[in-house]
């Protein structure tokens, strides 16, 4: 939203320097502690979504590489799982510390590769990444007290596939509990955001992590499919789309592989007539425009009590008009770039469908940069439950506004979805919060706040938003033989 000249708040550009990060022209796969080329020599390019500049050329893992990496992880598993928990803990503490030390570098890198604002990588992603390693480090020597029996055992080799919306944070969610519990990992980052995982390989090197304990295999969907299907993988963890999640569930059917899935969402953000409007507006903005709405637990359906609809929407539109869209490296930027051309076209086509089906789109005046992938923050009014934009996950900065009259109607509408990941409740009335939270079929319910994360807190979905929990004591279960 290039600030209109009439605005009282003109900002000078405040770019973060990109000199803190040194991106090599090419990267290999990270297998058994070494960077190596793909067996078939394939490579792909990763670009910066805000400029379309090619950042680096990345080796693309094929089946032979998956086999090698799984073999390396299997070999490393023997020693790693036999280490006293207190020693594994120290490696994880080292990793957490090195991430803190290098957090500025990693934040800039993540912003370059993903397109999200530096404000978010610096203040949300990186602190949480370090916090996850700290949290799970402390579990490594206390597993017998975790409530999973007297001597819980690791599963073996974990095959992990993560998405592009929080590349390093999702890596932390996957790798920290896996290593703490004594598993070794082969992780596939997303094809559009492989860089921070490869930098993480360097963090592992600095921490002196034994070879083969962590292996990183950049690639596309077929790389992930090969990893998930590999017969020597004992545990599969996936974060991504529900469609791919279902495919993975079919792949592991009939095997002994343990599976956890963190999939899509269509979170309802419910605002009652007694809600503190200004705080609710901030929560709605944070709920749907954080990370350009590319968040599985985004509050993408606003359910507002009919009596305050006009007041709330006026306030919300006014707030949207102050959001600043542009260079993600600028510290004043609220809305960065969409992660890829492909995602941009998906958002665009769903928004066109929303308009075609009769919902009314609204965006603040907004000038989009001429290169890169951009989408203006958008809200739709006149949305009904039957509309595609009220049912399908858009995964972009697009909010659908629906109304309700009674708490029962709000609950019914909130639950009217195949998904069940997150929800929000805004009201000053405590009993209403508890009553509504109790009835919502969602794994995370934020009351008078939204999009809060913490390593101590289990996160995960009901219904088609997947199964299993990440974070907290619950997150350990996914990586332990608890039978």
């Amino acid at each position: 939203m290039a600030p209109a000249s009439a605005s009282a708040f003109e900002y000078a550009p405040a770019p973060e320097s990109r000199s803190v990060v040194d991106i090599a022209p090419s990267y290999g796969l990270f297998i058994d502690g070494e960077f190596v080329e793909a067996a078939d020599g394939k490579v792909f390019k990763t670009v910066s979504p805000s400029t379309e500049e090619v950042l680096s050329e990345i080796a693309q893992a094929g089946e032979a590489d998956v086999d090698r990496a799984v073999g390396a992880a299997r070999k490393a598993f023997e020693k790693w799982s036999a280490l006293p928990g207190s020693e594994r803990a120290k490696y994880l503490f080292r990793i957490a510390r090195i991430i803190q030390e290098r957090s500025r570098e990693l934040a800039v890198l993540e912003t370059l590769d993903n397109g999200k604002p530096i404000k978010e990588t610096r203040d949300a992603d990186l602190p949480l990444v370090a916090a996850h390693f700290f949290y799970y480090a402390g579990w490594a020597d206390k597993l017998e007290h975790a409530g999973f029996g007297a001597s819980p055992r690791p599963l073996g080799v974990a095959g992990q596939v993560i998405p592009w919306n929080f590349p390093l944070l999702m890596l932390a969610w996957k790798i920290a509990p896996a290593l703490a519990t004594g598993n070794t990992v082969v992780l596939k980052p997303a094809e559009t955001t492989p860089l921070s995982a490869l930098f993480f390989a360097d963090v592992c090197r600095q921490a002196g992590l034994p070879k083969g304990v962590v292996n990183i295999l950049p690639g596309y969907g077929d790389t992930g499919a090969a990893l998930v299907a590999h017969p020597d993988v004992n545990k599969v963890a996936f974060t991504g789309s529900t469609a791919v999640g279902k495919e993975i569930a079919r792949t592991v059917a009939g095997t002994r592989k343990k599976l956890t899935l963190e999939l899509g969402g269509k979170g309802a953000n419910i605002v009652f007539d007694d809600a503190p409007i200004d705080q609710a507006v901030e929560g709605i903005v944070n709920g749907i425009f954080f990370n350009q709405g590319q968040v599985c637990c985004a509050g993408s359906r606003l359910l507002v009590q009919e009596s305050i609809q006009d007041e709330l929407l006026d306030s919300l539109k006014r707030r949207l008009s102050t959001l600043r869209l542009g260079d993600p490296l600028d510290k004043n930027t609220d809305i960065g770039a969409i992660n890829s051309a492909e995602q941009l076209s998906r958002i665009t086509s769903l928004v066109e469908k929303g308009a075609a089906e009769g919902a009314e789109p609204w965006s603040p005046e907004c000038e989009l940069p001429s290169s890169g992938y951009w989408f203006a923050p958008t809200l739709f009014t006149n949305v009904t439950q039957a509309h595609t934009i009220a049912r399908d996950e858009i995964f972009g900065p697009v909010l659908s506004v629906l109304t309700f009259r009674t708490p029962d109607e709000a609950v019914a509408k909130a639950n009217n979805t195949q998904y069940g990941l997150s929800a929000g409740i805004w009201t000053e009335k405590g009993s209403r919060i508890l009553a509504v939270a109790g009835k919502l079929r969602a794994g995370v319910v934020w009351s008078n706040t939204f999009n809060k994360f913490d390593p101590t807190s289990p996160f995960g979905g009901y219904k088609e938003s997947g199964f299993g929990r990440e974070g907290g004591r619950h997150g350990l279960e996914a990586y332990l033989d608890v039978r």
């Binding site: 279902k246 079919r250 919060i433 319910v445 807190s457 219904k463």
Partner: protein
Amino acid sequence: MSDKSEQQRLSVFKTYKLYVGGKFPRSESGRVYEVTDSKGKWLANAPQSSRKDARDAVVAARKAFGGWAGATAYNRGQVLYRVAEMLEGRRAQFVHEVADAEGLSKSRAAEQVEATIDRWVWYAGWTDKIAQVVGGGNPVAGPYFNLSSPEPTGVVAVLAPQESSFLGLVSVLAPVIATGNTAVVIASESSPLPALSLGEVLATSDVPGGVVNVLSGRTAEIAAPLASHQDVNAIDLAGADEVLAKELEIAAADNLKRVLRPQPVDDWTATPGIDRLTAFLETKTVWHPTGSLGASGSAY
């Protein structure tokens, strides 16, 4: 000696029926199949459920879910304990049925039935404790209070173990309903009679209609529509062989049902852990700001 006492009294056979939605229907298909004891002697004609019966049972289970999940844990515990009381009263009947079903001596069958009743009591005691064991507050690094609590997954399809017709059945059913789920149970294919009789006990034990639904028939035939049913939230494959289990797990992926794969059980009489309780629980984490009353301290 009178003629009457010399004459063998002709016993009254029982027509075994399904238990669906608190009622005892015959299969809508009108089919039955012969159930025999371990020596091949005819025991009864059990209803051979159809796909339609399975779907009706899901409707009943869904309808019952809100009330059962919403009941207090204390109340659920009382209801489950009531089932144990009724089972105790029908002990002799179940000893007889289990002995026939599994080809056991009266004393071995009695042991099985006693273990089953005790198992039910064990799970009755879990209803108001599991939330404390697997839930709790999380020490988040910020001015927020958050709490993780377990909640039932929803409607659970249960393929009862094939070999252990009563103890195995109760060992997989009780944890499902103790945690507030509702169940559609497929009885052991060859030995369904104890399961069908359990339905009669449940019906007179304050368990709301639809919370447990018992079907008998061909396991594979009934399980298929349950595994692919969009309104079933989870499936326990205890009674499926390897081939069927894989098929059903693939079908279950369509709506991402929670799947409990067949677990080898060496000894059904051993006290179970809580895995079967947690297998059909979701974790919900609710956040709220705490505000700050002059708290201070370093961020690191």
